[in-house]
Each structure stands twice: as C-alpha cells, then as structure tokens.
C-alpha cells in the first residue's frame, strides 16, 4: 500500500511540474509575439513632458514594441496605480518619468520585483538599486557652462538674484550647485537674494517684483528654468530695467530661444528631451536582447545657447540638419 501511495505521489508531482512548465511555456509563447513597453509620465499637462512621453512611445514603436502612455497627473498615488496596471497587464519594460524622487522609489521597486526593468527619463529617483538605468540631463555641468558665461558677461562683478525651481526637486539643486561652483569663486559677484518660484512663470514675476523693491540695484538674474526666466524678464520690463539687468535661464524652450535672438535674454542651457526619451527606448530594446550592464546614471549633455550661437538651435533641440 505504501509503495502504491509513493507511486501516486511521484505521478502527482510529475503532473504538477508538467503543468507549471506548460503554463510557463504558454506564457513565453504569448510573449513571443510583440513585447509591450509602458511609458509612465509625471504629467501630460506640460508640453515638455508630452514631448518626452510621445518621443519615448514613438521610438519604442519604431523598434517593434507595443506601447501605451500612462499619465500620473503629478500624483504619486495615481503613479502607483499606473505601475500596478502596467505590471498586471504584462508590460515587459517601463520608460518612466517620476513624479517624486523619493515617493516614486517604491513603485520602481515593485516593477523590479516583478522582473520588469524600469528606465528613468529626465527625472531621477533617489535610489541606485531600483531602476535599471536613469537617463538624465547633465544639469550640473550645463550650469557650470552657464556659470562660466555668467562670470564673463558680468566681468566678474555685480549684484545678482537667483530664482530657484521646486525646492524638493533634485534638478533644482543640481543646477544651483553647478552655477555656484563657478560663480562663488569670484567674490566680486554678490548674490543679494535667492528665492524659489516653483519653476512657474507667474510666480517668478511676482518674486522678482518684490525682490526689486528691496534690491533695485541688481545687475543679473539667474533662473532655474526658462519659464521663470520669461517671468523675470516681464518683471524687469514692468520695472523699466529690462535693458540694465541680464537674465539667464535653463531648458532651451522656444520662447527663450526667440528671446535670446531678440537680445532680451542673455543665455540658456539647452536640454534634449527627445535624446533622453529615445535613449530610454533603445536601452529597453538592448535589455530585451540580453544586455544587462547599464550605467545607473547616464548624463545627457546640456549645451550653452548664447546670442553668438542661437541660430543653431530651436526649442528643445537643434535645428534640422543638426543632431
């Protein structure tokens, strides 16, 4: 009787193993069709992120993958839902623009636990163990170049204001640190005020208007993005100081590229959202083909745009014919 029971057990175990293997083979067979790539973006309410998401999806499609864009609406809870949906729906990779450097880490870890690689674009998460790779603008080096140009344009002396972006955003501080790594070497350049305007044009206008009440004698304004540079310029126009104060931005938006051509703004740092998005899609493709050793942080060069070279550029990129 005991022998009979043992034989039954062996049969049952064999059947179970066969079942597991056959279902796994079936799932592989299903995936052998078209692999799926999810694009999860912080918001589609801002043209910058629309360009990022659409470029990533278009490149992934071009590489032969089925894609879908998930909008997190700047909400980490919604972002968590998007991750769960993407994982449950069988997406094989996620091209990700996080809503929050800290708050998004758990979502990336969930995908990692499910065996789904995540490639961050433009914004980073505060973990080097979660994403497969993070493709980011080299904000620090871009602002080193901008800082050097600032020092030259100011002839190493004068009073200036710094308008920061969101204080909780890593990009804000990487830009500020890069700028100060150069400018602080020159004691003749004095920062009379440093205030946040949350990357917002109208807030920057209000912030600079109130700073000008206390410091009417400033010579320059360095802004953490181009929207704030446009707002700062408007405040200077309203105060009748637009010709006396030099404005510097960062991003490479079309508005500011045109303002540099019109000599309203002195310089900006040109970012390349399309390069970041396309690289993320290419990395996912390489991952599927077997590559696993990706750099944790891959910087994308930021280029200095001034009145001397502005004709080579258009909004968020180079003119046709240039890379």
């Amino acid at each position: 009787m005991k022998r009979l029971a043992a034989i039954k057990n062996v049969f049952a175990a064999t059947a179970l193993i066969c079942l597991v293997f056959s279902s796994s083979c079936q799932s592989d067979a299903a995936n052998d069709g078209k692999k799926k790539v999810a694009v999860i973006v912080s918001t589609l309410n801002n043209p910058w992120f629309v360009v990022l998401a659409q470029t990533a999806a278009a490149k992934a499609q071009l590489l032969g993958y089925e894609t879908k864009i998930f909008d997190s609406q700047n909400n980490t809870a919604l972002e968590a839902d998007n991750f769960e949906n993407a994982i449950a729906s069988g997406y094989n990779a996620i091209l990700f623009n996080p809503t929050d450097a800290d708050g998004s880490v758990t979502n990336v870890l969930k995908a990692k636990a499910a065996g789904v690689p995540v490639f961050c674009m433009d914004r980073e998460v505060n973990s080097t163990e979660a994403a497969t790779s993070q493709i980011l603008s080299d904000n620090y080096s871009g602002c080193v170049a901008l800082g050097k140009y600032f020092v030259e344009a100011m002839n190493k002396k004068g009073n200036y204001v710094e308008i920061l972006g969101l204080v909780g955003d890593n990009n804000t501080w990487n830009r500020s640190k890069g700028f100060h790594s150069v400018v602080d070497v020159y004691p003749g350049l004095k920062m009379v005020a440093q205030q946040s305007a949350d990357f917002d044009r109208n807030k920057a206008m209000d912030v600079l208007e109130s700073i000008l009440q206390a410091h009417p004698d400033i010579n320059a304004v360095f802004c953490g993005n181009d929207a704030m540079a446009s707002g700062a310029y408007q405040a200077l126009v309203a105060a009748g100081k637009a010709n006396d104060v030099k404005v510097f931005g960062f991003d490479g938006s079309e508005d500011v590229v045109n303002a540099i051509k019109e000599k309203k703004i002195v310089a900006t740092g040109m970012q390349f959202p399309k390069v970041m998005a396309e690289t993320a899609a290419e990395y996912a493709d390489e991952y599927f083909k077997g590559k696993k050793d990706f750099p944790q942080k891959m910087p994308v060069a930021v280029e200095l745009v001034t009145q001397q070279n502005v004709d080579d550029y258009t909004g968020y990129g180079k003119k046709e014919g240039n890379k």
Partner: protein
Amino acid sequence: MKAVKYIIALVVIVVVAYNSIYFKKLDEVKAAATAKEFNAAQYAQDFWNNELIPNLNKAVDLSQLSSMLSADANRAFDNYSHALGIGNLRYFLVSGKGIVAVVNDDDMVVTLRDDTTTFVRTIATEFIFGNAVRDATGLININEFKNTMDFNNVSAELNRIIREKVLPQFKPVIKKGDAITFTGAIEMNKAHPDLSHIEIVPIDVKIVPR
C-alpha cells in the same frame, strides 16, 4: 532543584543579553560611514597621477587634429574624441608646440607651429571649469559611479588640481614671444564644431628654448 533552575535561567538571560547589545564609539561608526562615501579628491588625485599623466603621450597634435576636423569631422570625432555621457559635447586630449602671441588676463593666445590655418587657439589661465580633462582620455568608465554628483565632483577636483598645481608653474612668468610645448583638453560640439576658436584647458605647459 528550583534554585538551580533559576540560576540556569538567569545565566542564560545574562548571556543572551550580553551578546545582544554592542557598544561602539560614535566617532568610529561615523568614520566607517564616511570611509564608504566616494572620495572625489582622492579619486581625482589617483587618476591624475596614475592614468592622466602617464597617458599624455597619447594626445593628438592640435595642428593635425584641426586639419582632420576641417577635412572629415566625423572621422576625427570617432577616432579621437571621448565623453562620459551622451550628446553632442565631446572632448579631445591635445598637444602642440607654439609661440605665445598675446597674454591676456584670462587666457593666452598661442600661434601653433606647423599650423596652416589662421584660427585662434587660446590656453585658459583663469576659467578652469567643465568636464574636458575628466573626459578627454576616455579612461574613466561611467559605470564606476552610482551617483551623479560623484562624477561631477571628479571634474571639480581635477580642475582644482590644475588651478593649484599647473597654472602657478607658468602663468606668473609667461610672456609674449615665449616658445612653449603644451598638453591639454578641449571641448567641441560634434553637431557644429567651431574651429575658429579653440580653448585648451592646460594639463602640462613648459616654456622651451626657441
């Protein structure tokens, strides 16, 4: 018997408690944590001594590079430029011989020997910033770094070495008409290389007999 049981239980509790709690000096714990952090200054100094200086003989002659960039820029970039990241900004390790034509506050203009062009080449003597020296050799691998600020700080430290060790060797004494040999790093935009003005970040500059 009860007393023996109590004694054994007490001994067990004492042993477990003793092995469960450790005391360490706060200074030692802090020092251990700091030791694990990336030391950009040490990394930069080691790179300078063990990688950069021994490989300066691999620098491409700037006059030859200028000719190659004029004739076939893509080939020149593919063969001689490096960069840690992706994008259009690329870096070359260059060398040359020339005569100091002008000494300015922030740089000096050099007329290269064997240079058939009229382009301006300057050696920076004030604004030593950016990633040119870190990236130009191609010897640093981005996979060595997990944090963005680590490789940014390597650039800052290499530039500090130049400001503190390289510039003082020639900047105070250099004058118009001096013959020099130099090795340095240059940045160039691959999408639209500007050959009309090339700025060299100096790594080694020597005044030589004319």
